[in-house]
Subunit: 200 residues, 2 copies
């Protein structure tokens, strides 16, 4: 699209357009909203982004993002240190924490094994995980990886590598999601839910 | 959604979620992308937003947004001063400029008349428009307002108010958009295109 809003505004638009979920058109709309709502939106966002840039860092233990290192979860002694939940990315930690169903600690892999994209184990935080799992305190490693080909390849690889450490390695259950209507579910999920059926 | 990513990151997420086109989930994804792509995205966006906050202002002539006042368009003497194109919002100026079909100047109304939302003429930049249209230089005012009920109400109101000034008042044509397939067009557009048909 041709530049039309002056170089400063165009640069803001082109950066906003790089955010996932915003295309060129919605980035324009977002920039306009920002410039129209200075007090409620533009000024606070300028502060929040500068603060994120200056204060948020990667936790040296689990790989999560927080303003402290170790992060709030790794330094929370009320959480179960014998449980490690392995996730692909920090976003999965946020999702798990929203569900409030897990009180152990996390380990961010930083991606998934992918033959297609040429991502091998050395690109992921695998050695760190093996070291943490072998420290004598950890009892169980839960692999909370996506139910995709790459996710499952990675899970099998990690299960094999973790074998010698003697910790128990588990995976999230597969089945019908809460609120899931059979009409809208894919065949794979239905087949897995049927195989893993249990007494009512 | 419960807080789960620390107060600084949660604040960034909640501000991003106020942008049009981003909901709570996509704002989370956007925040994560920002924090992961510091060099390419977070740092330049921090600069661009701070610059927009500090430098972009409203043009006192046309109501557009630019780093200079009068804006680049109002101070461009190669543009036709006898033509004023009236738009609802600054975003419409950007769209018109992308089309490169108009070489006059603009006037941003700042909204549309709306009985439902209680927006009367005193809330819009109507008096400024009448003053500009009556300065003796202006020959034509083009009403480029949305083809909605409020847009058309506003257009009729402005046409009536501009009547005494003697300038000619026109509206954008209605019809089938470029690339528009009849199968996908609404009935109103088809009816208007048919009424306004012309020799092939």
């Amino acid at each position: 699209m041709a530049a039309s809003a002056g170089p400063e505004i165009e640069r803001l638009i082109s950066l906003l357009a790089k955010l996932p979920g915003l295309g060129p058109r919605s980035a324009r709309r977002a920039a306009l909203t920002l410039l129209k709502k200075r007090e409620q939106l533009l000024n606070p966002l300028a502060v929040a982004i500068a603060e994120a840039r200056d204060r948020v860092r990667t936790c040296s233990v689990c790989g999560s993002l927080d303003t402290s290192d170790p992060c709030a979860i790794c330094s929370d002694n009320t959480r179960d240190q014998s449980l490690i939940c392995v996730v692909e990315e920090v976003g999965s930690i946020w999702a798990m924490e929203r569900a409030s169903a897990f009180r152990g600690r996390y380990h961010v892999l930083g991606g998934l094994l992918s033959a297609l994209d040429g991502i091998g184990p050395e690109r992921l935080r695998v050695e760190d995980l093996l070291r943490r799992a072998g420290n004598g305190e950890v009892r169980e490693v839960i692999l909370a990886l996506p139910a995709t080909v790459d996710g499952q390849t990675t899970a099998h690889y990690l299960a094999e590598r973790l074998g010698p450490s003697g910790v128990s390695v588990t995976m999230l259950a597969r089945g019908v999601p809460v609120g899931g209507d059979l009409d809208w579910l894919d065949d794979g999920t239905i087949a897995q839910a049927l195989r893993a059926r249990r007494p009512a």
